[in-house]
Symmetry: C2
């Protein structure tokens, strides 16, 4: 029988290899790194992991991850409270923030409706979005724009349709991110779906 | 100012991104995964990390990682104690074990001599190798073969030369892994160094 790692190492490799983006090779490399590095470094990492799980919650307004409720974005008075941007995930929120072009508030869905994966509207923060919008109207602070900034998957598409349908005949505008050619891409290499969108939504110059 | 993650998440991403093979993007992805996964999963991972640091030591004979001293390989009576295979790392040991072609004992150097990185023989388990060989001779159980199974870097090369020099005029054979063409590679794509080795060490058929 071939030699194996001690069970503690095997266990660590197995757990690491199940993490997104890691395979057995990279997990083994990481495990051997943890073995050779200073114990204080591993302790700092386990403490950071524990802190994240213990101290980070959802913001009760926008459902982004936060250590304070409401989160810094929701309690930032300098932001435009007349706009709410609906995103799938905290990562998407940060990407939009990094663009520096949006100064309103956010609402994190926590995913998209996906019947095939058994994810319905009730598994996301969609009802909370409607309640939030209604609450703001009731308070006399209605929003002007709801920007649906979801990704390009067909599930994301249906989620947008679902939200739009539920918000028909409201006073505010519902907008979507523009679709078309990405920057720096040759037309001959663009996939058919993107090209169709680019043609369909073509603009006057 | 663009929004940021709460400090706990930023700290976790920073620590993760310093790990070998991970960049900021993959570290962020991992951190967000840890946020969304079950707390029990994170606890299992931190426990596995702690266990590895607390319970895994070096084998006092071969210097491989082990939770028992001597390690299972060193205490396996069915293995040929007349052969010692010198490897750079535990990962190399496992690769050779996985081949199933070697049934002797091992000695893990913990790296190679690398003057540029400030790693001298005293930073590795090289003296322990000489002591181990001498100890076996003194016990009347001398080895027959010392297989230097280090990698192809120039530092590995010098390490082999260093060990060979120190073991001149001994009773046992010092061998090296064969060098030449890897399996499945066209000659036109082989690097010059490998091709030179393949020519230099050509064999009669």
């Amino acid at each position: 029988m071939a030699a194996k790692h001690p069970p503690q190492i095997t266990d660590l490799i197995e757990r690491l290899s199940k993490l997104p983006g890691l395979g057995t090779k990279s997990a083994t490399r990481l495990a051997l790194y943890f073995l050779s590095c200073d114990v204080s470094e591993v302790r700092a990492l386990t403490n950071a992991l524990t802190a994240v799980k213990e101290e980070i919650k959802f913001c009760s307004k926008c459902h982004n991850y936060t250590d304070a409720d409401p989160c810094p974005l929701c309690s930032d008075q300098s932001r435009d409270s007349g706009q709410i941007c609906v995103v799938e995930s905290p990562a998407d929120l940060l990407a939009i923030e990094a663009s520096g072009l949006y100064k309103g508030l956010y609402h994190v869905l926590g995913g998209v409706i996906s019947p095939l994966s058994g994810i319905g509207p009730e598994d996301l923060h969609i009802e909370q979005l409607f309640e939030r919008i209604d609450g703001l109207s009731a308070k006399g602070e209605p929003i002007r724009e709801l920007l649906l900034a979801t990704g390009g998957s067909s599930d994301a598409e249906s989620t947008c349709v679902y939200i739009s349908e539920r918000l028909k005949n409201r006073e505010f505008t519902v907008t979507r991110l523009a679709r078309g050619l990405p920057v720096g891409v040759d037309i001959e290499y663009v996939d058919l779906g993107t090209l169709k969108q680019a043609l369909e939504y073509r603009r006057k110059t």
